[in-house]
């Protein structure tokens, strides 16, 4: 992340000089900061609400129900984390929320999962294989219905806004398969290479 950030800032500075946009750069930086604060203020409501709901659901044991169909695959992907009740619940909650398209419900559970995995695997600042796998799965995970995109398309006056739902579902299956495979292969290549 550090390297990427430095490259982005350096590219911005160089382009600003080349295109003569130097004086706009400071304003843009502040605008970005303001957007971050606005986004987080909006997220506060969503995070508090969904974390609350997830906690209540956990207290009920609802998640054991959700996790059952996913369990065989997850056990293979996360042998260490899946042996731990807390990590298992957080991982399942995150993936289930992602599948339902509830991105704001997914984030708090996902962060809790990473925090727990860090304790379990006793890693200081380096991502473990299971953490990498979890993040890639999270990012490429199957989404059952792309509600936001369909709503935007309907608002733009589409004749049948939902006709992209099936290709989108198939495409997320493709990204999930490629994501898991790439993570698995890279983990091995990097260990032996």
């Amino acid at each position: 992340m550090n390297t990427i950030w430095i490259i982005l800032l350096a590219a911005s500075a160089v382009c600003a000089i080349v295109f003569g946009k130097g004086e706009a750069l400071g304003g843009a930086a502040l605008a970005g900061a303001a957007r971050a604060v606005e986004t987080v203020l909006g997220l506060c409501a969503a995070f508090a609400l969904w974390s609350g709901v997830l906690k209540a659901a956990q207290a009920c044991g609802v998640q054991r129900l959700l996790s059952r169909p996913l369990a065989p695959l997850l056990k293979k992907l996360f042998p260490t984390a899946f042996a731990d009740e807390e990590a298992r619940q957080a991982i399942t909650a995150n993936l289930a929320a992602n599948m339902l398209g509830l991105g704001n419900a997914a984030t708090p559970a996902g962060i809790a999962a990473i925090a727990r995995m860090k304790t379990l695997e006793n890693s200081a600042g380096t991502a473990t294989d299971e953490m990498c796998m979890f993040l890639v799965l999270n990012m490429s995970s199957v989404q059952l219905f792309p509600a936001t995109v369909v709503a935007l398309r309907a608002a733009a006056g589409s004749a049948s806004p939902a006709d992209i739902a099936l290709p989108a579902l198939l495409a997320t299956v493709v990204t999930t398969i490629f994501g898991i495979t790439a993570t698995w292969v890279l983990a091995r290549v990097r260990r032996h290479g």
């Binding site: 009920c60 509600a147 992209i164 495409a171 983990a187």
Partner: protein, 168 residues
């Protein structure tokens, strides 16, 4: 489908809590606290990412990047109007949605390019943003192969979106 998810989940939750005698409200409040703490914890990371994105946009660096991507995207079968979407997608969900709306305005919401853009949007994620929020906020600074693997998965998504929209 979206119409039924929330009421169904809510009913399941309330019904289950009542049957098992769980203190739902106490659990909810405890969870809400955790959610607020999470929001506060990710703010600095999000701020850093969005400052960089805005500076990339105003300086013209983002335009340079999408111009560079135009030819490789053509090889993958994508319309050149999608290059801004592909560049912004890894960094910011809302910026990518704005780019998607631009595609709608340029080509109409039912054009092949717009449909491909929708599938792309629905099957890819804000890779860089997610890594910084999930990992950095937990003190994980070395993400190892997470980014390359996520980008490979995104590339597969681009090819799949382009192919699937031709046949469906």
């Amino acid at each position: 489908m979206g119409k039924f998810i929330v009421p169904a989940l809510l009913l399941a939750l309330v019904g289950c809590g009542a049957l098992r005698g769980v203190k739902l409200y106490d659990a909810f409040v405890e969870g809400a606290w955790e959610g607020l703490r999470t929001a506060a914890r990710i703010l600095p990371y999000l701020l850093g990412a969005l400052v960089a994105v805005e500076m990339m946009k105003i300086s013209g660096a983002m335009d340079v990047l999408s111009a560079l991507l135009r030819t490789p995207l053509k090889w993958l079968g994508l319309d050149s109007s999608l290059s801004a979407l592909v560049v912004l997608r890894p960094f910011s969900g809302s910026a990518a949605l704005a780019a998607l709306q631009d595609v709608f305005i340029q080509t109409g919401p039912d054009s092949p390019a717009a449909r491909t853009a929708c599938v792309l949007m629905g099957s890819t994620e804000t890779v860089v943003y997610t890594i910084s929020v999930y990992f950095s906020s937990q003190g994980i600074t070395k993400s190892r192969h997470t980014l390359p693997a996520a980008l490979i998965s995104m590339l597969a998504g681009i090819v799949a979106a382009s192919l699937l929209c031709r046949v469906m």
